[in-house]
Symmetry: D2
Subunit: 459 residues, 4 copies
């Protein structure tokens, strides 16, 4: 890694935080204790966005002398940066998108935190309350557009994907963009970047100047992965569950590209919700797609879903292989159906209030060995509840692979043990092994040591 | 009065209330008890804006079958109108400005009320808290503009003024508008309408399409006086004290036209604040102006101020007679000074945080006989406190003249008795007599029976 | 008249003339001989727009030291003003609308003149060529809007009308504006100003920021009557015939208010065209309207049209008395019909190419005694040709009343003699007498000496 | 090449051609004889822009059944397409940028042609006239922006460049874009595309929505090379001389990347002009730049210039190797100097009127054997005239390499013979041999047979 220059700067916000009351400014400025380090790390991730590195810890180490302070003035809040990466600046002036994202971090980490007392975790919040908070966070980030058109396509898929898979995600994005559709992803690299890049070029061809490239992230992930430079709306949701709820309520259709445990978590979250009887009639276009080389990948996923969640679950999505324009057409056509439904039921175009999300999918799940072992992976329950615990199982693997807490648990106590129905576990094991052998669990170049153990024997 | 047709309609908001969370919608929609009647009366005032009548009670009587209901839908809140005045509609479609103002009422009466628990009156709020609430109410009404220019000129003066005075207010507004300045008034007729009308024509001549005609009102007054149709931003502040604070913090300069007790209240409020030692160095352009026929009116006011508050108070304003373009130039030039000061002190351009408003001017004063009698109108106190109680004395007269509560107190118990220093009271009496004889106390055509008694004898 | 200050200034264009090639600049700048005085007089009319006077000659006399020069620079053309009326300036800066109109004059008098060699009068131009030139002049003035809506209502009527008539034109304009319709007039006072004023207020109420107030004038008239300040698009057509063609091709509907000889000229022009067989099926909403006091005025016109041009001509318009909202509704509804017709026939929305205008109505008619005497006012011809010569008869009277050339002819040779069919002339005489007695021929306050003589005896 | 589907369509213009007069429409629509085939070929080049192929003849052959017709309607002109490449359409709707460019072709080939009688070649036009025509063509294409900023950087260089050279052009474009600068190129691939691509991403990062990517081309080249999809303003100049004039008058600074004969032509054109005594004091930032591997390439060019045109010529540019941010800074800083000069001399910001271009550089040069042999490549003349003939020599080589006429001349009569001063020719030969060996003369993969012969022996 090349040693980068340092810059000191004082920057003022543009946008939502431009006009704060003195009360709000002092709330932001007060010693935020535990929050401060989180804010500092997230800010550094943003400021470092010009860099090639995606190794969070290395970045943190290189810039360990970076500091950020909130300055209070009558006129409004400012940020004082000390030893910031010079890549965020041109001739001493901060790049505008970086400035925007920096204040998105301030807004979502500090300001929103205080507004909602998120520190206390919304622990006792009702399901409805959580749905309202997700709405208000997105609205506060100015995500909703008054447009009469439904056009926000969520793209899920792995951050570590093969080149041909990445190129295919660009092609799909291009076809979506040509049809005036917009893109929402988790805002990192791989399948989260390709569709935005393709759409951006297509929007230019279609002379669309207000294309939306919405990145929904969470504090743990943004510090590791800088939002790609195409993202022009960034929201940092408090945790993975609220982030997932934001995806399914703000998006109008979902495309799933190949990915690993995280993508499997997203699929199970989505199917678990769509399988709930209350959501029976709500139209929701879902397509699994990849280049022709990925055909067998999706066959395996499809089989697993069929065996574990049943035919009904399989009916919730289409699989389209190597046909980017058909994928885009399915989404475009789906918009009409969604629009008709929302109009009929007086639901908002910009937020899917009618979708029922059971509490099991909303409550934060922080995996540890005890909780993972207690997951109920048996068939003796409604299918959407099984999906909920399967989602948690995959979430645990993601945590064990890359999230700070999860990694340290594994280091201390060994792999998570996953228990449950034997037949089910066998299928699960097979799927996970495929992820490993296809190098979807972590970036290629290192050997993957599983953070989990599928316990198919006696308990 | 011609009997007007009735219209039933269902209207959706445009703007701030367009995207509410379910929580917010249900908060608005719930049975608001005491608030509902206030909301209904204010809405009727808005809907009746095409009418010539300014007799609040007559309007209320004519439309006693008018009803308004808040309808809750996933997509957002709507208003159901029953037996609404047809003047608010063209070919069955509500006029856009009326719709805007209707939702300003909803926003400020119902929504803001719940957000701030205004029902409980901010009774224990600190001075800073009140200042912050005023800021947040204005921001919520989207009053602040990011513009680098300071240009909002507050125009005060009577609603019942002579034709030549009215014409002069238009000329002043025209000269202000020619200089790209914007207008803020109390949003009723007379001196509150003339400057907006003049500015609107001047803005058209200068090809300014985003001219601001900001009306700041309060619930008691909007029900009596429909905002004039030129107002394009309407905010209903909770009470007269917060309305006055909004004027002096959001405005960049103040012009005072001839008026009655209400205008005297405004002058005393302003001088009381500017006389406070903490505000010594804050530039604030203030001009008293009128046509040549009004010269003696301002001489009398000037003399009263000099005798009661001293030379220092007189130094806080200029008097300019019959010279509209000089008035406008003084304001325009004053903007530079204000801008330089705010820049130096890091104060916001859109809100005068640095201005100190003593609590005596912020606490709501609801006049009754006991409180009026207890006012301290003696010289044995700091001059800004004397100004505060003088302000309250005039406020009581306004209430006794036209506000519902005040009028009923007077009906039951006779006129308010005003006590204090003999010399001071003599001057006050003289001034009030002049207001009466010049027909500034109420609309011409009826005999004015004073609602006050200046008690200059032994107490 | 108050003596006005003088201002010297150098002003740069904004808009169409901002970017000229060197060739174009030098064409404009060269010694334009006869054109220069015309340009100077028109510019003075514009610059004097803040004045109350409408006496062209008095204005010219007061500012006889006014001069205007075209300055050529690489960067573009500028105008140097010497001894210009100070009313066009605020604190030394020219009011933006005045600047716009000043460059409209430059564009239409000098630039367009050279482009079209208008000096040579388009004398041999074919009918089609004239229609194309009218189009190109309007396009060059940026009059056409891409809007899919048809909304431009032409309002005709006298400049010298009674107060109650003027107030009624404002009411009609207000109702038009409430329905999102725009206004086109001859851009002077009276019935040319009222509808714009009413519409401007209605547009503000409807939050329409891009309302169109199009003034179509000609060099002879603009020098006498400054465009009213509401006009935001000004075009100076080369002569009355092209101005009339611009009205009927750019407008989507026409309202006729009470007026004198000029209004009669407009009515006959319009009916003559609509009566042509080729225009049989072209929808064109036409309404004659006035307050209830004007009922008899329109009865007389209606009778005259019936007797001279027949029932068919009467069927081309509706008369609506004292009902402004019905007038506006008729226009609004008419727009749908016009739109359907144009769509069906692939005609442009912004220019009525399909309307056939016979050459008789296009060729410039400059009245002198010989030509007036030669007019064929007999029934032995197609009705649209009779209308054409009747139009010329009224045009002659307008010229004899107020246009420089006409007035001097009359002074030298006595009144124009009008010959023709006895019965026809009798009716014409009656109508003209009514105009005289109603003071529609010239401004009230002076005795009217007719510039014409209806010769009903042997020829 | 994959066989592409065909689409028939009828498309309406958006923009400049939206509102034509009937006269103009019929002028466009009439049988244009020789022009039609040119129009058809250029249109096909545009429509095929989604294709990977850059082999003009192959495209023409594949779509030999493609036809385009101009349809005349009152409402305006439309284009009827028969058997058009489907790549220009999405779900049957033409991509907006393609539609725009298609009508740019119509505007520049047909409409402009008629307006300027370009067929007759401006043969007798004066130097000033040509400069005015270039201005008017650019203005008509809406190229000029009123912006107060100078920001249009012309990027020249080869269409056939190495990958590392291409990547470097992107980096330079990115640094230019980060500094709010815009890009103008010849609008093909290679060095004409890279800077636009880099700038587009940088503009997105800087939240610039109105970035300019101006492509200046000529009929012969557009048919061979589709404009890259980033181009958002396209102008087809009549010939290479007017295209070169457009570059130097509309651009505010010039960057030269590595290239072949065409780039050498551009360099000599530019230096020839800048060397003219009249242009001595006109600031014009010029940078030659490339990655470090290109250092020797520029050394050779630099040496050639020094030896042939002298030190003075070398002083007209800087060479900066492998330092994209310094290149961008030099341009950015240069803008201030250019701006100051233009302001001082009242020259336009958007067109460099003051720059003197001698007629030798303006007159179209159509190479044939006789004319090439007659070029004066001796030192017995002013240096700018030598530059003019050297420019023509390189222009001949470009024509002989790729332009239809040139290629057929060579086929028939063998290579062009270049005569002149022996020492000079020796240096020229060396330079040309380097271009050949570096594969800059034509796309790699085929052997290059020179179309020229440097005759250094007896004549």
């Amino acid at each position: 890694m090349q040693y980068q220059d340092r810059v000191n700067a004082l920057v003022a916000p543009k946008g939502a935080l431009e006009m704060l009351s003195q009360d709000e400014i002092s709330r932001i400025s007060e010693d935020s204790g535990q929050l401060h380090e989180l804010f500092r790390r997230c800010s550094l991730a943003i400021l470092n966005c010009g860099s090639d590195s995606d190794d969070a810890q290395a970045v943190m180490d290189e810039f360990n002398d970076f500091e950020i302070r909130i300055i209070q003035q009558e006129r409004g809040v400012k940020l004082q940066l000390i030893n910031a990466p010079s890549s965020a600046f041109v001739d001493g002036k901060m790049i505008r998108s970086v400035r925007e994202m920096l204040f998105s971090v301030l807004r979502d980490i500090i300001f929103t935190h205080h507004e909602y007392n998120l520190a206390r975790g919304l622990a006792d919040a009702s399901s409805d309350k959580i749905t309202n908070v997700v709405f208000e966070l997105l609205r506060n980030a100015n995500v909703f557009r008054r447009s009469d058109d439904l056009d926000l396509i969520v793209c899920w898929g792995g951050h570590s994907i093969a080149r041909h898979e990445y190129d295919y995600t660009k092609k799909v994005g291009h076809e979506l963009g040509l049809r005036d559709l917009n893109i929402c992803t988790g805002c990192g690299p791989g399948a989260m970047k390709g569709p935005m890049k393709g759409a951006a070029i297509a929007h230019a061809k279609q002379r669309i100047k207000d294309g939306v490239y919405l990145g929904l992230t969470e504090p743990g992930i943004i510090a590791a992965e800088s939002p790609n430079p195409i993202v022009n709306q960034l929201v940092i949701m408090p945790d993975i569950e609220k982030r997932l709820e934001a995806f399914v309520r703000a998006g109008h259709g979902i495309i799933v590209f190949p990915g690993g445990a995280g993508t499997a978590e997203e699929i199970l979250y989505l199917l678990g919700i769509l399988l709930h009887p209350k959501n029976d009639n709500i139209p929701f276009p879902v397509v699994f797609t990849g280049p022709k080389e990925s055909a067998s990948y999706f066959e395996q996923i499809h089989e697993f879903i069929g065996e574990v969640l049943g035919k009904e679950a399989q009916a919730k999505y289409q699989i389209i292989i190597d046909d980017e324009s058909t994928v885009a057409k399915v989404m475009k056509d789906g918009m009409d159906e969604v629009k008709a439904y929302r109009r009929l039921h007086h639901d908002a175009f910009y937020y899917n209030w009618k979708l029922h999300i059971p509490e099991e999918f909303q409550r934060p799940f922080e995996p540890n060995h005890e909780r993972v072992a207690a997951l109920n992976l048996n068939f003796d329950q409604p299918v959407h509840l099984l999906a909920a615990d399967l989602r948690r199982a995959f979430s645990s693997i993601v945590a064990g692979n890359v999230k700070a807490n999860g990694v340290s648990y594994i280091k201390e106590h060994g792999p998570f043990e996953i228990h449950g129905d034997k037949a089910l576990l066998a299928k699960l094991d097979l799927l996970l092994q495929a992820f490993v052998s296809q190098q979807r669990m972590k970036l290629p170049g290192s050997e993957y040591i599983p953070c989990y153990k599928v316990v198919t024997g006696e308990r």
